[in-house]
């Protein structure tokens, strides 16, 4: 009784603290607030969401059964299917879902102020993203670890399966183009950054050789050595940037884009053990460490947010990307709140490791909460900057002007004072020639992170090191994703082409490897090139396109989830996945429509093409830009049509089941009692 009363008091206190924090960030105007209010608001909401909402879903909607054996237990083979401790699976799952998205998206969305992004990151995760990851994970666990595409085919129909396949391939291609553009924008004209990132390639190869030939299996040891070498490369990069060799590592955006395309193709054709695996280990090592340090840094420094709660750019005229807060804030934040891509992980490796059904709540719902918290930290990193600095870094030359004086004057005229001298001093302190027009989110995040780190450890003297550490941290993620994503895309393409001509489906046949790798690299390379040559910085069109594709995939995942809930006789609880689905449909369809048909050339692809077509002087470059805009519009339209088909097929299936015209059955594997119950 006393315990119950204590718990009641504790949860009431958490609820009150959360409400107070949310009220503070929502209603405080005209004065700076401390970042800890964001942290407290997020943590309290996560705690309430996890304790009450996820428990409700687990008990009432999914009826998790601790007695039911999972595929990890039934199909245990020591390779894919391995019963694993829940905290270990949590770490594994979190490492797989956390990438550059939750870091970049919130930084870009900070142009609306800290409030809209923060609210969506917290609420979107608790009611949408965490639910999606949790529900898809348990549904895959109950189907022997089947993938999202397979579940869509089995539960919705053939169209659902086909669309999920095409959507996954499309999102991979668009995502790779968008993230590659972030690296290009972070490294252009930066010998220090370019040297550091270039050095990670031989370091990864060295790790691969060390791991295979000198210390087989000692991955943690090898990763620690790799990390020390990367730190040495960061310090060495500073020396290089001040030496005569600086010009060897100073590239323009198009040159860097070509280098990354060539790299992407070569890396995906190399043996996994030589480059992909060691760099993946290194990237994970740096990622987990940096996220932990960033959390400690924020708590230790408790920085003040200089960005206002809401900016004038909620009206859609923002320089970072154009478009009103609805729907673009929700599209831009992407993985920090809900990500369709997570459904691939939740129906990939993770379901094959889960030991007990009841643990899916911690792994699926809990890991997404952690990812959402990473997004909150990114938001804080962006908002600790002076707004003038934030806009100077993130605004393309096409909007603010290419000279430092013009850009500073334009940004100051928006009410965010900044001077060319201030930016020059900041660039000097981080070892860059300029920080103007460094679009893409990564440089702004790096400056914010360096600000937090340098105030916690090392002072101003280490600003440059911390800045390049942050750039390296993001670029390392992205290079790994380029390599891994190209391979995953290649396998999908080979699986598909194998139906047309069998040899093309043989994943070890070299001509097929080369041809399919070239197709995938060519596709994302085209998007990258398109972004690099875009006078508006590329991110303006690429990131929303990526966000739309990612959220459309989430729509497909939530269609699958809702269908399964309804077919399992739980139609009264279908709102759990139906509510985020309806919201995502509104957001993605509105965003897609606006990206295609909005008359503002900064928002609508077709309007932009039309404005270019009306220009007095037409060059080959203009025709190419017009073609790219029309291509973007067609891709957006095609994705929407595909998702409408899945939605229609799903709704018909729901109607058949709810009206009783079809029996409510699902294709779960039969119940087998777990052997762990005997041990208890």
């Amino acid at each position: 009784m006393l315990r119950k009363l204590t718990l009641f008091v504790v949860w009431c206190a958490i609820a009150v603290l959360g409400a107070l924090s949310l009220a503070t960030i929502a209603f405080r105007r005209g004065e700076s607030i401390n970042a800890m209010w964001l942290v407290m608001a997020a943590l309290c909401t996560y705690a309430i969401g996890y304790r009450f909402y996820s428990k409700f879903i687990a008990a009432k909607v999914l009826t998790l059964d601790a007695m039911r054996a999972t595929p990890a237990e039934r199909l245990e083979n020591g390779r894919d299917f391995v019963p694993t401790n829940k905290w270990v699976v949590f770490g594994h799952h979190f490492a797989a879902i956390a990438g550059p998205g939750p870091l970049v998206g919130p930084v870009l969305a900070a142009q609306f102020g800290y409030l809209p992004g923060t609210l969506w990151i917290v609420v979107g995760a608790v009611l949408g993203g965490c639910v999606q990851d949790f529900v898809i994970l348990i549904m895959s666990v109950r189907r022997d670890g089947k993938s999202l595409t397979e579940m869509a085919r089995a539960e919705i129909g053939r169209i659902g399966g086909l669309v999920a396949f095409v959507a996954v391939l499309a999102i991979i291609v668009i995502m790779l183009g968008a993230v590659a553009l972030i690296v290009v924008n972070a490294l252009k004209g930066s010998p220090w950054g370019t040297f550091t990132i270039a050095a990670t390639i031989p370091i990864a190869v060295l790790m691969g050789v060390y791991l295979r030939h000198l210390r087989p299996g000692k991955v943690l040891e090898t990763s620690s050595i790799g990390f020390i070498l990367v730190l040495a490369a960061i310090v060495g990069g500073q020396g290089i940037s001040h030496s005569a060799y600086a010009s060897w590592f100073t590239f323009t955006a198009p040159t860097l884009a070509i280098a990354i395309i060539v790299y992407g193709f070569s890396a995906s054709a190399l043996p996994v053990w030589l480059l992909l695996a060691p760099r993946d280990y290194l990237s994970t090592f740096v990622k987990l460490g940096t996220i932990a340090i960033l959390a400690v840094g924020i708590v230790a420094l408790r920085p003040t947010l200089h960005m206002p709660a809401m900016t004038r750019f909620m009206d859609g005229t923002g320089p970072v990307f154009a478009g009103k807060i609805f729907p673009f804030a929700f599209i831009t934040i992407a993985c920090g709140a809900i990500s369709g891509f997570h459904a691939l992980i939740s129906s990939g490796t993770t379901p094959k490791l889960v030991q007990r059904e009841t643990e899916t709540r911690l792994v699926g719902y809990g890991a997404m909460m952690a990812e959402s918290f990473v997004a909150i930290m990114a938001m804080i990193a962006a908002c600790v900057l002076d707004p003038g600095v934030y806009f100077a870094v993130n605004s393309p030359a096409g909007i603010v002007g290419s000279s430092a004086t013009t850009a500073a004057a334009t940004i100051t005229s928006w009410g965010f004072p900044v001077t060319a001298d201030q930016m020059a001093a900041l660039a000097k302190s981080v070892g860059e020639q300029t920080l103007f027009n460094r679009t893409g989110g990564a440089p702004a995040f790096a400056v914010g992170m360096a600000h937090i780190f340098s105030h916690t450890l090392g002072g101003e003297a280490l600003m440059g090191i911390w800045y390049h550490f942050a750039v390296m941290f993001e670029a390392l993620f992205i290079l790994t994703i380029l390599d891994a994503g190209t391979r995953v895309g290649r396998f999908m393409l080979q699986d598909g082409l194998g139906h047309v001509w069998k040899p093309l489906g043989r994943t070890s046949w070299y001509p097929s490897i080369i041809a399919t790798s070239a197709i995938i690299v060519g596709l994302w390379g085209y998007f990258l090139w398109m972004g690099v040559r875009d006078p508006l910085g590329g991110i303006n069109s690429m990131w929303p396109l990526f966000g739309i594709a990612n959220q459309l995939l989430a729509t497909v995942a939530l269609c699958v989830a809702t269908t399964i809930i309804i077919k399992s006789g739980k139609a009264r609880y279908a709102w759990v996945s139906l509510a985020p689905l309806v919201w995502l449909v509104m957001v993605t369809f509105t965003a897609s429509y606006q990206k295609m048909f909005n008359p503002n050339p900064r928002i609508g692809f077709l309007a932009h093409a039309e404005s270019l077509a009306k220009q007095a002087i037409q060059t080959g470059e203009t025709s190419r830009l017009i073609f790219n805009d029309r291509l973007d519009a067609v891709i957006t339209g095609a994705l929407v049509v595909l998702v409408v088909m899945v939605l229609a097929e799903s709704v018909l299936e729901w109607e058949r089941v709810v009206s009783g015209r079809k029996e409510a059955t699902v294709s779960e594997t039969p119940f087998v009692q777990t052997r762990y119950s005997e041990a208890e």
Binding site: P216, S339, I345, T507
Partner: protein
């Protein structure tokens, strides 16, 4: 007081053990150990090469999120 310190120490040890276990799983060291156990092999260059050959297919197809 002493009991509390001992309990805290035990909790810390347990937490570090779980963190190390998670790291070993994330970094595939446990997977390699399981491979050695299931094949009755000792750690060696050849065993690791064999392990890589068997697991490369899975590793290559493992998606990483954005």
């Amino acid at each position: 007081m002493r009991e509390r310190i001992l309990r805290a120490g035990k909790t810390m040890r347990e937490a570090s053990r779980v963190v190390m276990m998670a790291l070993r799983e994330i970094f595939d060291e446990n997977a390699y150990a399981r491979f050695l156990a299931s094949h009755g092999m000792a750690n060696s260059r050849e065993a690791y090469a064999h392990y890589l050959r068997e697991t490369n297919g899975v590793r290559e197809r493992r998606p990483r999120c954005c």
